[in-house]
């Protein structure tokens, strides 16, 4: 949250897009609560298997279309995708996950010019974020 404030000067009114495993991420939960309290608008994006159905009841916008949602975002937060075997039922393959929900320089072209990208904790390079984006100028 401090990174967002440092980069943007404020949090209130910002559109913050959280992409990935919303269902199993405590980081996502605490960010959603915290950022909402500070006046941000939250969008969560991922396959329906990774977003709990009650999410909309928390006043959060739910999206399954990264390309559409990315255009609205001031901040993009990429969550780590779990790779344990049990969790493999959540989506068919890394390949298909990347196809729809991975952030690469192509999808990023759709984003606002001053967007900032965040990634809490360890990342699967090439899955959530392609290497060119991970090392690029937007990331924090």
């Amino acid at each position: 949250m401090f990174t967002i404030e440092e980069a943007k000067g404020k949090i209130s009114g910002l559109k913050i897009l959280i992409v990935g495993d919303i269902a199993h991420s405590r980081v996502a939960r605490s960010n959603i609560y915290g950022l909402k309290k500070m006046g941000a608008q939250l969008i969560v994006c991922g396959p329906p298997t990774l977003i709990p159905p009650a999410m909309t009841k928390l006043g959060v916008e739910v999206s399954h279309n990264l390309k559409a949602s990315i255009q609205k975002a001031d901040v993009i937060m990429m969550l780590r995708i779990q790779e344990e075997r049990q969790d493999r039922i959540q989506f068919p393959s890394k390949k298909e996950y990347v196809q729809y929900f991975g952030l690469n320089s192509e999808t990023l072209k759709l984003a606002k010019k001053d967007v900032i990208i965040m990634h809490p904790g360890p990342l699967n390079r090439g899955v959530e974020i392609s290497p060119d984006v991970a090392d690029g100028r937007f990331t924090h």
Partner: protein
Amino acid sequence: MEDLLIKNGKIKKIASPLKGTFDHVIDAKNCIVAPGFIDMHTHLREPGDEHKETIRTGAKAAARGGFTSIVCMANTNPPNDNPFITQFIKLKAQEEACVNVYPVGALSKGLQGEELAEIGSLKEAGCVAISDDGHPVMNSYVMRKALDYCRHFKLPIISHCEDTHLVGKGMINEGLRSTILGLRGNPSASEEIMVARDIALAELTGSHVHMAHISTQAAVRLIGEAKKRKVSISCEVTPHHLFLTDESVATYDTHFKMAPPLRSPKDIAALKKGLKENIIDAFATDHAPHSNLEKNVEFEEAAHGVIGLETALPITLKLVEEKILTLSQFIEKWTLAPARILKLSKGTLKIGADADITIFDPTKKIKLNQDAFLSKSKNTPFHGWTCKGEVLAAIVGGKIVYHV
């Protein structure tokens, strides 16, 4: 009486009478000119078991039976669980099939019911639904995740409703007949349990479940109740489950072995009532070709399934004579209903629609004869039946692909 003009593969004009000069005229006097019939549940055996059926022969059988579109299940060998197989099927169909072929993609990798298949890629390759048909998805968690995942892609899941643990080695309906014959029974509860589960999961996820080949009174009751609650479900019934009971198995004839098994007269009555009350949305053949290698063996060893493409129309037309359905309801359950469930822009003869047309004479008496079949396989339970309803022509995209 109206005339119908086809141009560039589309329905161009409907008038009575059409005036002008035409390249080709079909006289369909005293016949029914219907939208092309759709079989939403066909097993083509290509790739893998081409000795039973190929995409080419399955399509030929379809056209002869009056079907202009068929929807082929994923349990080929290898199964259609990845976009390369889907592309293979589409390409083969384009080159060799005389009717439209729509593939169904597998729900799980290898039809194993454990990990999701690449459903997004399957849709992009051209799959119109997702199903592990033949291999009921026993793991409710996997089924739930598949339903959640498919919601995003707006694909219906087709469920083969049998609890395989409860079925065990059961091979005919559990009841007096199974007891007399000494064959292991498959209780109707095996279907009831899975139908109930899938209704619960459709309700939980908001995704659509289409229940394939329902066979029991219990299934009709449960689906009827769930539809009243507006749960997103639909279902189909096959000709054999409507007109045959477990009594037929008396001679251990393997042409009466299928999954789910033939049930009792009480179940048939419920299925017919379900059709009348529109609880059952559609007909489907579950055309399942097998050669003598798989069928000309002991009942216990024989493969499940019967063919249906070339007998379905006259058999189900009996329901019109029995006053279960009107003629237009009968047509709808073979056309518009499956088109709606699978979101195909088919099943209508409106101006601008694809010129897929089935012409049949509903009064003409015919004798069903397996030797005349164009299917590679002969495993029909209806050989020798006399019925009314002869298919005179099948037209696909304005092209006559079959006529008598």
